[in-house]
Amino acid sequence: MTRLSVLSEASRLGAEQPLLLWLLPLALLPLWLSPRRATPLPSLGAVPSDTLSRGIGLVLRGAGCLAVGALVLALAGPYRSGARVTRTGIGAEVSMLIDRSGSMNETFAGRQPSGAEESKAAASRRILGDFVGSRAHDLFAVTAFSTAPMLVLPMTDRHAAVRAAIQAIDRPGLDYTNVARGLGMALAQFGSGRPDASRVLLLVSDGAAVIDPRVQDGLRAAFARIRPNLYWLFLRTKGSPGIADKPTGEDTPQAAPERHLDLFFRSLAVPYRAFEAEGPEAVAAAIRQIEGLERDPIPYVETRPRRDLAGFAYALAALGLAILVAAKLIAVDLRRSGAPRIRAAAPVPPRTIAA
């Protein structure tokens, strides 16, 4: 093993209750104290010193240290955290920008939902919910917008959380459709972490708004830097102007915001597609198409489960304790084994010897 790999190995060790490790000095206790019976003896000098006794003494002290130290260690809950392995799967970083303006709660026919007719929000909730989690390695971020953009979830691989965010999108919406600031926030959701991953910005809205010319330049710069594939899922209400429809009067952004948002997107020089959906089936078809288009490899990190090391510590403790218990079991007192009897009232305080 090289030094580096030893270091990385050591950096993965951890404890659940690291504060308990402050008790580790207790493991030195057996060096001073003996668990054995005190036998009154005038002086240790009375017993001839021999290598075997010293050896046994050392082993017993060592076993004591081991038992106490390993128990403290085991209580602290040692573990080795799982290695983080980078793998490659099929998927993309998807930043969803979802319109939460009030009109999303109407049906595709522009009415209040009733009976079998779904609202646009309910349809996108159902279809987007299926989209999330259909591929294991997609990452998602969710941004909502109406008058102001709202960061709902940062970029994450936790699909359950993303589905929880999508579940909330058919709740009553807010006031207006202010798409420019929403786009800014949705672009900011792409981190700098995965430069090689394919990036997808998915805008789901049922309308558009004028993008303030002052904001346009900032957005252009952000698009040029992040270079996402842009998809606009336009939930068109029946009878309302579509993306391609030219207004009868003056062709200004105010008169035809959808058309001009589309023109703005086309001018960005990023891969862009607009899907005009006039019903739930069309939304589902558009999502399937996007899924089919985004088949790029994406690196993802897999964390192996961590390994509990407390079992090892308990095994060491058991070993130390077993030695101590065995020593206790075969302990022999000098007094009982025919050694010279010593009076308890000896003038010298008793000393302990290893028996």
Binding site: L71, V72, V152, A160, A161, Y314, L321, V325, L329, A331
Partner: protein
Amino acid sequence: MIPGLPLGRNLRSRRFQASALALVLVLATFALPRLPLTRDGVAVLAVVDITGSMNVRDYTGPDGRPESRLETAKAALRSLVAGLPCGSRVALGLFTERRPFLLFAPIEVCADFAPLDGAIAALDWRMAWEADSRVSAGLYRAIDLAAEIDTDLLFITDGQEAPPLPRGEIPAFEGRLGAVRGLVVGTGGYALAPIPRFNDRGRETGFYAESDVQQENRFGAPPADAESREGYNPRNAPFGAAAARGSEHLSSVRETYLKALAERTGLAYAHLDGPGSLAAPLRAAATPRPLPGSLDPRPILGGAALLLVLVVYAAGPLGALRARPSLTPRKA
């Protein structure tokens, strides 16, 4: 076997018994399975007030600098979420204008901790879609929302109504008292503090002055004392002739009002004292939701074994201390 071993005596020795028991306990850690156990988790909808008055900096941050109510509330929520038992679920909503806005349905706090924590950290007053702050309406609707998604409610607000309530009367609560349990969290200091003001690009430009905000709600019927006001005219000046004066441009936590709201809706009330102050009151107020869990018996067994071993080692010197008086030679 060595002949002459005093086995019987050794077996009866307290120290041997203690050491052997410790060994048995340690060996038991390998045999005992994890014990099944139910714990009390929570399922809660946290609704955070992001109106202008939440920008008042009347808390002290961890670095000793003034910190806004919103930042303190976020820190408190994050520490609350980090401390909830696994299996608890948290949904997040915003409050401004007169209604809560659900950001996401309940998320499990352990497996999905990272996005949940990130979403709380990203809460910002700039997400507000309107500047009004009708706290009672927001609270009543948040209660309905919590009932719909089957959670308890944690409503974090400073209680400042903007515009002020007409005649200071609390609007009636039409829901069923106690149908949703939870906690109203009063946020802010008890002393009046100025409210920061931001321009349309989100930059701070100063503080609100007395004339910048509505000091009295002059919609609907005038208050009872209107007749005694200067310049009162029933048709032309039903609220008196003078401009309303007051302290609505300053903010402190409206505790009496929030307590009254909590009582009316059957929720509990707690004041936000700092990042760590949410867990205990929420646990007391929330519906306990039993979660399957398991208890690792090893720390208990190991702890007992450690105590036994330490006692065995300490018994020697302690015994000697006790025995010493009889052993020290008496001076003649």
